[in-house]
Symmetry: D3
Subunit: 247 residues, 6 copies
């Protein structure tokens, strides 16, 4: 059930009769995803996952936050990003309002990898301000990556942007918006001492701008993408989230 479609009286009833009213907040982005994917790629994926989770688990669905924290892509036309201060205020104020409306559990489902850090640190603040609120944040890419390693065709696990992983998901959800004929592959070199394979990326956060490491905005090989890979990844993510937040 979408919050947007409900009246205030319906929200009130729903919140009153449920001992643990939960709400899912999908977070997308307006951010370059190479020449072959739309700026709303993260929004489309986050809404797809959130809608499926909400159909399995009794939750209300909040309107997707379509703009988030994408400063690393700011050099590419069409990208729109809030500052750290504004985006963290956005998250905190939404939580304040939803708590006032009677919700007891907030579940963020985030489609943009670059948002994870700011969402995580915001959750610490919100939990501090509202100790009784239950808070979950899921970043789709971080969940998908485990399954991706098992099924990918790409020869390396990249940090990845508009790559086999994201493109596959998009081919599975909304193939009409993917322009595979424009898909290019870029495998940027980071400082030679940083492997883009996952272990180093656990060990270090390196400041980078997409423009400095790619020309197209793509990091990875979208040409390996298939709808089948996308479906396997999406199913895995939906299953993982649903199983953690329970029923």
């Amino acid at each position: 059930m979408n919050l947007a479609d409900m009246s205030w009286t319906t929200v009130k009833e729903a919140v009153c009769k449920d001992p643990n009213p939960r709400i899912i907040i999908p977070v997308g982005s307006v951010e370059q995803h190479g020449p072959h994917l739309p700026l709303s790629t993260d929004t489309i994926i986050a809404e797809h996952i959130a809608t499926r989770v909400a159909s399995q688990v009794p939750c209300i669905l909040f309107p997707t936050l379509s703009i988030s924290y994408s400063l690393e892509h700011a050099d590419f036309p069409g990208t729109v990003s809030f500052t750290l201060q504004t985006f963290s205020s956005i998250i905190a104020e939404i939580a304040d309002n939803l708590l006032n409306s009677g919700f007891k559990t907030l579940i963020v489902i985030n489609g943009h990898g670059g948002n994870r850090a700011i969402l995580d640190s915001s959750i610490t603040s919100i939990k501090h301000a509202h100790p009784d609120l239950e808070l979950y944040s899921f970043t789709i890419l971080d969940i998908a990556r485990k399954r991706f390693r098992e099924i990918r065709k790409s020869t390396r696990t990249m940090i990845g942007h508009a790559d086999e992983l994201e493109t596959s998901m998009m081919l599975a959800i909304l193939p009409g918006v993917v322009q595979m004929s424009k898909a290019v592959t870029e495998e940027p070199t980071f400082p030679p001492s940083i492997s883009l394979e996952s272990e180093d990326l656990v060990n270090v956060t390196y400041g980078w701008k997409t423009k400095d490491v790619t020309k197209s905005g793509v990091i990875g090989n979208p040409n390996f993408a298939t709808p089948e890979t996308g479906r396997l990844l999406l199913d895995y993510v939906v299953q993982t989230i649903s199983s953690i937040i329970g029923t």
Copy 2:
């Protein structure tokens, strides 16, 4: 054309070949609209108008801002509002980004009357910061009201919320989400010296909270609403905006 559907390369091309690239930013709200209308009423109306304007006038369409400045309704469950500081930062930062992307004209189409003041004062700031940016802000209700006075069935021109005017528009756009059986009429009394007829409301801004003046959240009489009234109002608003921003 929706910005969200474009890739960054398409945005770049569109912006480069157009001497005056324009973008429309629809602004909705998540805000109570009585028991018979959804929380997203303003969003639905703003997107409807913006889409029609963008089909008549060469403009790109930005993703709708679905949460805005609705503190007066904050006592009703489901309402979500940013603070003044955060919402004005949101507008300012979006403008910064769109300017960086190459847009030269920003056109806000706002579905929530309570946003007009904060949008107007934000525009002053943005124009000061970016003198070359051309900026328009339209508030749908303020435009519709003139036509409404000619065709309404309601016996008084109220400040209005979820009333004949808004309900008619919703019946014209998306009748399936309007629950007329739940529509109630409330005609609140403001301090006796303030007439809710328009002249006094030009003369004074009076601080009020919906909860203090209504029980249902409705200000006005939605039972007079008809799809015909809605269509006339929507046509008038689309026509007015298109004619001001030109072609």
Copy 3:
């Protein structure tokens, strides 16, 4: 009675014995008003109106806020304007303090048209923070304009700045500071599709800087100004405000 002239003990007594202690906050500006009017034009007009209202209605008078939100005039030497964030904090903090002092009603009388939006949106915030506070905001020009249309000599109702309307008021209040010999007339063209007549300005907010539309800072024809026009306008504004806030 001016708050500034009272001691804290007198304020305490006044507030205690009055079931609804009210305070008027005049808001002026330090802002260009063409070559013939002083920078404090809005301050002089706001103080004049506020003093007369306070003599008719039992209210305490707060010291005039002499600097406000005038970014559209910032290119003209002598103009001083706060940012949106600072001016809205100023208003909110004054309200907090006056509430703590025991005042129950705040009445803003605003001399600068460009302040209306930021005052209106601030009032929404203050009412949200302090639901028991009664709040009114009057913008002198918006009230005067109705009467002005009936008596003006100018051939068009302009958005107006340092024009027949403002100059007439100044001639009525403090003729010694008006230098009519320097008064120039400018009737700027806005984007051709925007009529400066009132209906379009209800329909759209257009971002503009005075410097881009005038050379002198004047928008309108101050040479039509007379003290008689000024007196009629001032009387009308005082009467309108007094009648709305009651006795």
Copy 4:
């Protein structure tokens, strides 16, 4: 010459023809000054001093900031104080604007002792942001105190508020607003180890609220005040400031 009385063209001329255009910013307060002095005591004194300095030294006079940073008096009705963040933004933004108008030297003449610290730290920021701006800040009480020690009747040099010093100045400037019949004397004890004599107050800043140390809001003995003392102090302050800023 008051900036408020000038038109923008006059300001432009004045600033252009003067190699070092200077502007004086008087800072007052809306703050309790015991039962016998008005809330605007600091404003009256600051304006008096500033006006006399501006008559001796070629300077333009800015409108007095009538509200400042008076949190220590916030428990007394009528006191109005900005927060630290807002008042420092006010100062910084005024400086930005005056620099843009062409002024090269800013001279703050401050009537409220409690403002000195926030003004001093703001000046460090402003100088950092605008290295070419020349900045002076004078706090009237700090200057007057030296002369006061030579001529006072009070038996101790107190931290002082609404005391012999301030009351004398007010008797000299505007005796009509001083209600000597209501003047009470309070000589609060601070923590026993802190002498209110000057040396300890150089050595330590102790956090205090007026309400915790006095009942009347007075710290000191206003009954010793005379217009003669006031005149001597005022002359001394005017002379000191004029001599430091030169001619």
Copy 5:
């Protein structure tokens, strides 16, 4: 070489003669670490690692930030934490200053796991503001955990606080401050669906406060700690960081 020990002339020389002057910023915390470890545990570990890295790799060492972002521990006396807004400003302003001083690479070595998210999101902002600055952030616990899994005695890989991992490091660095007799073991249960084993913690961020899941502040089993384990972990972390930032 510690920045604190250098004069400005030495800094200038060092920065000028080095084509890539690098600076390490250790980040600690003032935060509960159970009854057996000091509040400065993270500071001690971060300084130890940073000092050893700086002895292997030509870098200057910045003074340790001893207070950071520890809101999850705020219920335990002695914990001191900045808000999200303040701590992110601290990081951003230090970066601005170090860039002005001529540094080209900033390397954060962070001792508090809870800081990783806010540091990561800050780095995105700083890189956006200063594209030429090279930025690395290392969180010691995240690096140590991999090695820890190979050598730990604890029967589960917990999220961990003041546990075998941290206590071992402290026994290796500064055994005199560890009070093993006070070490207690707590193995909190999180919502049953969240395994504290690493995979789930990659998949979800769950909002928690230490006080809600433990009584002592310990999460894990510090009684398994040994100096040998600590040395192996510290060596591994120093080696990993040094190898990534190179020589």
Copy 6:
């Protein structure tokens, strides 16, 4: 006893058994002190004084704030300064946390003269927010100056930076870090009307940047410095602070 060395349980016990638990917060800086003194000069002096005071008076010692408000020195490499807004938030948030931990008295011991104003104005805010908290702030240089005037070799009492006074203290505390061979003397001229002798500096705050008045960063004559002078000054400061805060 250092807070950093305590566990949370020890803090809890200490705070519970003491009717007036006090904590000393030393404030240093990272700021140029000429070619002969380290950037941490203020930190070293503040920690020395604070440690000695804490050994005489029962107090807990907070970790030194090693970065503060040093914008006037920002042109010299190695200087790191927070903005006014950030540093005042730092102080306010630390106070909030220490109050939550149970401390009732906060004692700031500040080693950088330029911090006094921002600390003083912050204390007003903190006292306003937390009326029951007892707050002291000591600025070492301001205390030392009185004794310095009696024993100095320098021929004038300058505003002073890295001068005989500070260099003497450093020779007494940590002679190994003082490079007397690099000590240079600069006696800058301020605007001719401002004597750097103390009376004028009481009378006026003048905005200055070190770079504009010196080449070396030194204001004064460090070559007169001796460890004996340093010891006398340090003893005097420790004695003065201890006697004010009592036992």
